[in-house]
């Protein structure tokens, strides 16, 4: 296969690959183009002029849905999920490198969470919080705290049940990535640090963390983007207000203007921005590491 002349199989497979990439990106590209449809334009081609009309319509809100509020909620939740995913996966991966009883049980729980049909997880979390609501109300009743009882709505919410639901989806990715990182990690650096008298914290802060930082950025990216697009696990585990993807899913049946493509373009831009940021930050950290090593 090292000859200069490629075998015919190569061209066949290359054509297949190109077709796959077109299949992957073609439709996405189409809706980005269509979101710049002119004011008279519809959901399909032809383009009737080029404008930002449907983006401004989007900013005004679609029907009863306040898009910008949903967007802010989703960004807030995404950032929170990202922070939790990074910290919890890194911590747990450190624990897995030591003697940890129940390590196998914990590992299989995490993998099970990854492949569990999302509707089941979602239903379970929804049930958990509804039963919790029932319990809280009963306690308030017996304590005679009627004022509090009247104002008590539900424990379901963005930063309670939805956050938990998202973490069951992002943490397995975070932990598996950490395993992959530490499988390729040379423990000699840590041993050297310890031999030189570093405390465990110093070893982590000054030796391990800088070495794994570029990859940890990737975990952050997983955390944010997976939360940003999550529907299935959130669907039954959300309170009164929805996240952006849930609103979007609802709008697919009601909105019949290119505004929905504009919304699609906006969410895609956010996803790509986060990916770009992650790649940039990761390579910056890697570069700094190399620079330090060279001096």
């Amino acid at each position: 296969m090292n000859s200069d002349k490629r075998p015919p199989a190569f061209w066949l497979l290359a054509a297949f690959f190109a077709a796959y990439v077109l299949f992957l990106y073609g439709p996405m590209f189409v809706i980005v183009v269509l979101s710049f449809q002119g004011p008279e334009g519809g959901l399909t081609f032809p383009m009737r002029g080029v404008s930002l009309h449907w983006f401004s319509k989007l900013a005004e809100g679609l029907g009863t849905v306040d898009i910008s509020a949903a967007l802010r909620r989703s960004v807030g939740l995404g950032l929170t999920v990202m922070a939790f995913t990074i910290v919890l996966s890194v911590l747990a991966s450190l624990a897995f490198r030591k003697k940890l009883r129940f390590a196998n049980v914990l590992f299989f729980t995490v993998v099970a969470s990854l492949i569990m049909p999302s509707i089941i997880v979602s239903l379970g979390i929804g049930l958990e919080f509804r039963l919790l609501d029932g319990g809280v109300k009963k306690v308030l009743e017996t304590l005679g705290m009627d004022g509090v009882l009247e104002n008590y709505g539900t424990a379901l919410g963005i930063y309670t049940s939805a956050l938990g639901a998202h973490l069951t989806w992002t943490l397995p990715f975070g932990l598996l990535i950490m395993f992959a990182i530490f499988n390729r990690f040379n423990p000699a650096y840590e041993e050297a640090a310890r031999d030189l008298g570093a405390t465990p914290w110093q070893t982590f802060r000054h030796v391990v963390l800088p070495l794994i930082a570029p990859s940890v950025v990737g975990i952050g990216m997983f955390g944010f983007t997976l939360s940003w697009d999550e529907i299935a696990r959130t669907s039954q585990a959300i309170g009164d207000v929805n996240t952006l993807p849930l609103e979007l899913q609802g709008l697919t049946t009601t909105v019949t203007t290119p505004s929905i493509y504009a919304l699609g373009t906006v969410t895609m831009v956010v996803s790509f921005l986060v990916m770009g940021l992650a790649v940039g930050l990761s390579s910056l950290l890697a570069k700094r590491q190399h620079a330090k090593r060279d001096t």
């Binding site: 509707i119 089941i120 990216m221």
Partner: protein, 306 residues
């Protein structure tokens, strides 16, 4: 590759390190206990509860399970299967189709990347190109088919314009076809990543040895590469099958909310606050998915793949 749980460091000051391991694992363990294990246990518990129009009633009854399988033992007068069996059959059909398609496409794409792209830089770029859409919204990627497949979409315009059909084809969108198409579009990535990973671990000298011994490209593929990719193929299959089995979003959006699926039944029952019934359905779904996974994982250790 050492398994992650085996300590790679000398156990200096062992008691302190064990304690540290405990508190480091604690936050993650708590999250999975609170938002995964307890919820699953509650689903199981509530599936035996009773309910009325307003609330769930603690009980121990098999009534929800009987309701799930109501009329399933015999065909009814018109010779139809019961709703549950019919829905599972339809979901299995989707599963099988999507699994076969994602496997063939995913394997071919990975094979090209792993064995035909020679520069490792190009390899990484092309691999990332295949995975990027995974980090974008699934719903957007579904909606993206509307301007292509709709009644006045690009495909119909093309077909009618060139006189290949007289009238726009209706079954392109909001049909079984569009559901399968969207599944393949969304989830082939789940096949590509593990299969590509397995392929990159294959010792290239094995392939050389095969061709030196006179094996044709097909023989090498069938007798060397595919057996060595088994783990990747199984992991990818588990992902795709569990996603399709529990799906309600893709089938909902791409099926125009007209096609039944097990996930959709659960979702609808929850929206009517019939939680015990939804829970019973979830337990049955879980049991079936677990059986499939168990069958698939008989011979694979996920940890060796990282």
């Amino acid at each position: 590759m050492s398994a992650p749980s085996t300590p790679s460091l000398p156990a200096a000051s062992a008691p302190g390190r064990t304690l540290a391991a405990w508190w480091q694992a604690l936050p993650l363990t708590t999250v999975f206990a609170l938002f995964f294990l307890i919820p699953l246990a509650l689903v199981l518990m509530v599936s035996f509860w009773d309910y009325n129009q307003y609330e769930m009633l603690p009980d121990f009854t098999f009534k929800n399970y009987l309701a799930v399988f109501d009329g399933c033992l015999s065909r009814n007068e018109s010779g139809d299967l019961c709703v549950t069996l019919k829905t599972y059959l339809s979901t299995f059909k989707f599963c099988l189709l999507v699994w076969a398609l994602t496997l063939v496409i995913g394997f071919t794409v990975s094979y090209f990347l792993a064995f035909h792209v020679q520069s490792s830089g190009v390899q990484v770029v092309l691999f990332v190109l295949c995975t990027i859409p995974f980090w974008t919204s699934n719903v957007i990627r579904m909606i993206a088919w509307v301007p292509l497949l709709g009644r006045n979409g690009l495909v119909n315009d093309f077909l009618v314009g060139y006189g290949m059909v007289d009238q726009p084809i209706e079954w392109l969108l909001f049909s079984n076809f569009s559901v399968v198409l969207a599944f393949v579009h969304l989830f082939t990535t789940f096949m590509i990543v593990p299969i590509f990973n397995s392929m990159m671990r294959i010792d290239r000298s094995l392939i050389e040895a095969a061709s030196d011994s006179g094996a044709s490209a097909w023989q090498t593929l069938w007798n060397v590469i595919i057996p060595l990719c088994r783990t990747g193929i199984i992991i990818g299959s588990i992902f795709v099958i569990t996603i399709v089995m529990g799906d309600f979003v893709t089938i909902g959006v791409m099926g125009g909310q007209q096609i039944a699926s097990v996930g959709k039944i659960i979702q609808v029952q929850t929206s009517y606050l019939q939680f015990p019934l939804a829970a019973a359905n979830a337990v049955v779904l879980l049991a079936i998915v677990l059986m499939i996974i168990w069958a698939l994982t008989r011979m694979v250790d996920i940890r060796k793949e990282l």
